[in-house]
Symmetry: C2
Subunit: 334 residues, 2 copies
């Protein structure tokens, strides 16, 4: 049994092309039916405004699979803590015995979530883009922009958030990080109207993007909604997409943007919707022409967790890192 | 973050009246609607004959709650490993931050499962009993007999298992452990006909107990079935019970004995079924008269896991045990 700390994981597991590639392989496995992925388990801690999700996926042929526990406790800001936390564990797919605990406090989730955004853009965004728009100013707003840089060259970022102050901090940090201009704009509309590719990274309960702002050729990745009551895009945005992609339809129709489009009757279950793994496995094409409007709805899947946890494990073990705990005792004792 | 090993946990957490009492409180909380307990998450690893279950329950007012991962990999015997394994973790119910990992390899599950059996017997078994019957010769067959001793005095155990050799080992070990006679018998029928209280602890897919063997006053606890395809009691056994109890009806009608009784139409959903927490909270009575046949169907619940994990945490921390891992780094880095 190995224990890896957040500190070690941050030092040695980066958001790079290799991380992107393992997550992409995860989606391909999913599309090719080599993954067992049960529905997300969720515990609500109503009296503390908190929730804990458990995700998992077993990929056939892999020696281990991840179980991830991630929490969101939305009163934490009152005591100066981030809302998100959690850990991943790796279980042997041969014996069921736990092999490693990755005390990442959500770091690996940030990486695998940003990777999915970049993968969506790789297949759906126009090849040549100038301006990227980001809505939301939290850590995913940062990771998503950084990940996008791995698959697209762009010269400018437009940032909008409810707090202008946080948007300014974002602009300062990210222009240094990316080495390009990052401009604060004063509305989501200004972001959408002026960007080639837009990423929404908010916990919004009411849509932040209206369909009337869309323009030909735009790509939007909405990664914020992962619960029934969350929504970042007007349902009409999905209806206007010439290419509509989900990480998994099963999850998006319960927890993502798709859910609202179905609920409102703007899309029927017969509407052509593509899963991200169909793009990565080349079963389906991504963007079909320059003027197409494309939308990707991401809810976050267990197969991404297994992919990134296996990648992290390999990175750590080959460096001889991690705390090893040996503890074997007879089965019936006491 | 604390890490506790199986070795430490076995040394300091015992199957005793205190453990029984915390599990009993867990069932009471469940009956009094102070528990959020989502359905069990399950991953099947078909190509390895394995399965992993995740269980959890948040009890209002408790500072932490458990998430438990337990595996059953049924080819493990080929490489000399036990089929079961797993761990528990404790999550803060205030902040969602993981607080402890209990690397118990299923030990705490054994304790809380046996405790539930003893609780069932406490309310359902006749007060004065002479002979206890056990079917199955694995570790739960041992823990259940030991737990029963905490609530009932008995002079003899009858043991039956498919392997006579394993039954003999059981008899030898348990007669030393309990200080009473433990006799190997040659059939499940001999166990049932000659025992006041019977515990079934098998992974049987076909019933091991027939209704025609029942006699007035018998109590049966069936703790083996925890999956759709498992069954230890003929459905008619449940129909003959004057008092039929489940750990939770929601789980038993999916995964327990109850499921088969409903499926076969031997019981309707209007049949009076009591939950164990209704007994512990005194909302309902247990055994109502000496001649009554009583049956308890146990599938194992997340609230037992939270109860035993909190108990174990307290036992360990007050002794200053456990490995403490400190690891705090800024939220956005890299």
């Amino acid at each position: 049994m190995f224990i890896f700390t957040e500190h070690e994981l941050r030092q040695h597991v980066s958001l790079n092309l290799e991380a992107l590639s393992v997550v992409e392989d995860g989606f391909t496995n999913l599309a090719e039916h080599r993954v067992t992925m049960p529905p997300i388990m969720r515990v609500d801690v109503h009296d503390q405004n908190g929730e804990v999700d458990v995700k998992t996926a077993y990929v056939e042929g892999k020696g281990m699979f991840a179980i991830k526990v991630s929490s969101g406790f939305f009163n934490n800001y009152k005591i100066g803590l981030p809302s998100g936390s959690g850990l991943m564990m790796l279980i042997s797919a041969k014996t069921g015995v736990p092999q490693a605990i990755l005390l990442d406090n959500g770091y690996l989730t940030d990486i695998r979530t940003a990777a999915a955004g970049a993968i969506a853009a790789k297949y759906l965004s126009r090849k040549k883009i100038q301006t990227v728009g980001v809505i939301g100013t939290g850590s995913q707003a940062r990771y998503q922009a950084k990940a996008l840089r791995l698959v697209r060259d762009f010269q400018e970022v437009l940032i909008f958030g409810r707090s202008e102050e946080r948007a300014k901090v974002y602009a300062e940090e990210m222009s240094a990080e990316l080495g390009i201009e990052v401009k604060v704009v004063d509305s989501a509309e200004a972001v959408v109207r002026n960007s080639d590719t837009v990423i929404t990274t908010t916990p919004a309960k009411d849509p932040v993007i209206k369909a009337e702002w869309l323009h030909p050729g735009i790509h939007i990745t909405a990664m914020g909604s992962d619960a029934e009551h969350k929504q970042e895009l007007e349902a009409e945005v999905l209806a206007q997409a010439g290419r509509l992609v989900c990480d998994t339809i099963a999850q998006c129709e319960r927890l993502g943007e798709l859910h609202h489009a179905f609920d409102q009757g703007l899309l029927s279950r017969k509407h052509p919707i593509v899963e991200l793994g169909e793009l990565t496995s080349k079963k389906a094409e991504g963007r079909q022409h320059e003027e197409q409007i494309t939308v990707c709805d991401l809810t976050g899947t267990g197969v991404q967790d297994t992919a990134i946890a296996l990648f992290a494990f390999q990175e750590m073990v080959q460096r001889g890192l991690g705390l090893k705990i040996e503890d074997k005792v007879p089965a019936f004792k006491n």
